[in-house]
């Protein structure tokens, strides 16, 4: 078990009546890539600011390797931060921007020079040292902001939506670079984003926030496969939501009914106690077949072709429209609007959601 570098306990931040953070407790492990994921206004920036020391908590505490830092000013925390919008110093050259944290730490001039060159190399910006920030593109400014935040070898790097202002292609490139930088440097990254793909592709662990509360946390694969609430299932990828009446139950094995059809559902450790299961069903877990081939029958309403996959909306008399994602390279049927089809899924495909989760 790796050591914890940061421990956040019961962090609460109120702005008047607004709970920007509501009893957030979170451990950050040494060297991990942790992502805070949530929709806009969910408190991601507030949590990051609290860690950085800009937003004093209303309640709760933050420990750095067991030492309470809740009341320490930002300059004593030694965390690098990359801001939304970069926040480069407009009156300083790129070199002076990166040298700034070293100069305030009174490092000797020769060391500062060497380290700045190293950092420029780290982000492949050696040729831009004497430029002013305004003379750089968004992606280049982003790299400089990163180099500046890493130049003093911080214990933790905090990143607030660093890629959100860039176009899609550049974003993908920088995602790879950030990830490989993390792997090379071994610095703990706390990364904020509202983009689920970014979160899933880069992180060791993802924390999902909503309305200032942690909804669920875990490794990307586990979160995607086993969302606990409807919000998480919906926010991370697409899901179909079904209410399945339970007709029989034997331990983890249950039998549910749709229309006249009974079928088994496996729900390890399911908390659902009522007669109806709220389940999430990923579109790619539903199989599509010719009529009679699968358990349930339906009619294709709409098809949307996405290259490697195609999304099919199928109407069923009982459960309403279902989204099905089918790989185009091994289609059982070629779906067309109005075509009668059948569909079904494996017993472990439906994920049981917690009751009352909106």
């Amino acid at each position: 078990m790796p050591d914890k570098i940061l421990t956040i306990a019961n962090a609460t931040k109120r702005y008047g009546p607004v709970h920007a953070l509501d009893r957030v407790s979170l451990d950050v492990e040494e060297g991990e890539f942790l992502t805070l994921l949530g929709p806009s206004g969910s408190g991601k920036t507030t949590l990051l600011s609290a860690i950085a020391g800009f937003a004093p908590l209303t309640e709760g505490r933050i420990d750095l390797r067991g030492r309470n830092i809740s009341n320490e000013p930002p300059e004593h925390r030694d965390f690098g931060m990359v801001f939304q919008g970069y926040a480069l110093f407009p009156t300083m050259t790129v070199r002076d921007n990166i040298a700034f944290p070293l100069k305030v730490r009174k490092r000797p001039a020769s060391e500062v020079r060497k380290r700045v060159d190293e950092c420029l190399g780290l982000v492949q910006m050696e040729d831009f040292a004497e430029r002013m920030p305004a003379q750089l593109s968004g992606g280049q400014q982003q790299r400089i902001a990163l180099a500046r935040a890493l130049s003093f070898e911080p214990q933790v790097l905090l990143l607030d939506e660093p890629l959100s202002a860039l176009d899609k292609k550049l974003r993908a490139d920088l995602q790879w670079e950030l990830k490989s930088l993390h792997d090379r440097l071994g610095v703990t990254f706390i990364y904020v984003t509202h983009d689920q793909d970014e979160a899933l592709s880069m992180s060791d662990r993802v924390v999902i926030l909503k309305d200032g509360r942690i909804q669920q946390q875990g490794v990307p694969d586990e979160l995607y496969k086993f969302p606990r609430t409807r919000f998480v299932a919906d926010f991370l990828g697409k899901s179909n939501f079904l209410d399945l009446p339970v007709t029989a139950r034997e331990g983890d094995e249950m039998t549910c009914r749709i229309g006249g059809t009974n079928f088994p559902v496996t729900a390890p450790g399911a908390t659902a106690s009522g007669d109806v299961l709220n389940v999430a069903l990923r579109p790619e877990r539903i199989r599509l077949g010719a009529p009679g081939q699968e358990l349930l029958d339906g009619i294709v309403r709409q098809v949307s072709y996405l290259g490697e996959r195609c999304l099919v909306l199928v109407d069923h008399a009982e459960v309403g429209p279902l989204m099905i994602s089918q790989p185009t390279w091994k289609a059982e049927v070629t779906p067309k609007a109005g075509l009668p089809v059948s569909f079904g899924w494996d017993v472990d495909a439906p994920v049981i959601l917690e009751d009352g989760a909106a």
């Binding site: 930002p74 801001f83 919008g85 407009p90 009156t91 305030v104 003093f152």
Partner: protein, 264 residues
């Protein structure tokens, strides 16, 4: 289209030129008056003469009043810039309701009629023993100039992204280092404008000076005022002409520098 609007055009063009003339003529009329060959204020009779300019440069009272106005103005500019900038930066960092209220209170000197304010200065300066001292004038002018400085620094800081000082802090700079490294550079254009404003406010101020000085302190506006009261000396016109010229030169330099600044 042009035909239809031409009536309006003529009307508005004439109006605009008349307003301009109305604004400029009283200023420009001092120029011929300053060149008069008569010993009273009037237009030149027989020839143009520089005698009243010579008189200005030979009269110690004029020169000393001018010098007083200049150095008092400079001291006021420095004091008001330091205080106003400190105030504006403090408010910017707080940016809460109390600081908004403080900003409003600070600009009241602009809203209060000068006579009322001067009366207040007079009452207080008597108590403080500052009547008829240079210190008293400097203090009064600094108070009058403060709002101009802080308003222009506020305007400059409005362009400063609050995340920039945050970035400096997270990179290890103390509050003081942050102010020096990133806040002051952002405030600098406002400080420069504010300082020039403060100098002009002081250089130009007369109501307060008339209330709080007697014999000991004489500034240029006060001397001009007294010149008109005592004798109708055309030296006043030559002083006024030189001030107008100075203003024009400074304005041209400012515009020219700004154009240069925009190019880079």
């Amino acid at each position: 289209m042009m035909q239809q609007t031409s009536g309006f055009r003529i009307f508005f063009m004439t109006g605009a030129w008349m307003v301009l003339a109305f604004l400029l003529l009283p200023i420009l009329v001092v120029i011929p008056v300053s060149l008069t060959d008569t010993s009273y204020i009037g237009l030149p009779k027989e020839e143009l003469s520089l005698q009243h300019y010579v008189a200005y440069f030979q009269d110690d009272r004029w020169l000393s009043a001018t010098w007083t106005s200049i150095w008092v103005g400079l001291v006021v500019a420095v004091c008001a810039t330091v205080l106003g900038t400190t105030f504006a930066i403090g408010c910017w960092f707080l940016s809460n309701r109390a600081s908004t209220i403080a900003r409003w209170i600070l600009i009241t000197p602009i809203l209060v009629p000068p006579v009322v304010q001067s009366l207040g200065f007079y009452r207080f300066w008597v108590t403080l023993g500052l009547i008829d001292t240079h210190g008293g004038v400097i203090l009064a002018h600094t108070l009058l100039a403060l709002p101009y400085v802080s308003i222009s620094v506020f305007a400059a800081l409005a362009n400063l992204d609050p995340r920039i000082p945050q970035a400096a802090r997270s990179l290890g700079a103390s509050v003081w280092q942050t102010v020096r490294a990133v806040v002051l550079p952002a405030a600098k254009p406002g400080m420069l404008t504010g300082g020039i404003f403060a100098f002009i406010v002081s250089f130009d101020e007369i109501v307060g000076v008339l209330f709080i000085t007697v014999r000991n302190v004489s500034t240029l506006p006060k001397k001009i005022w007294e010149g008109i009261q005592e004798s109708i000396d055309p030296t006043i016109a030559s002083v006024a002409t030189m001030l107008v010229m100075l203003t024009i030169v400074v304005t041209i330099i400012t515009i020219w520098r700004r154009r240069d600044g925009d190019l880079t």
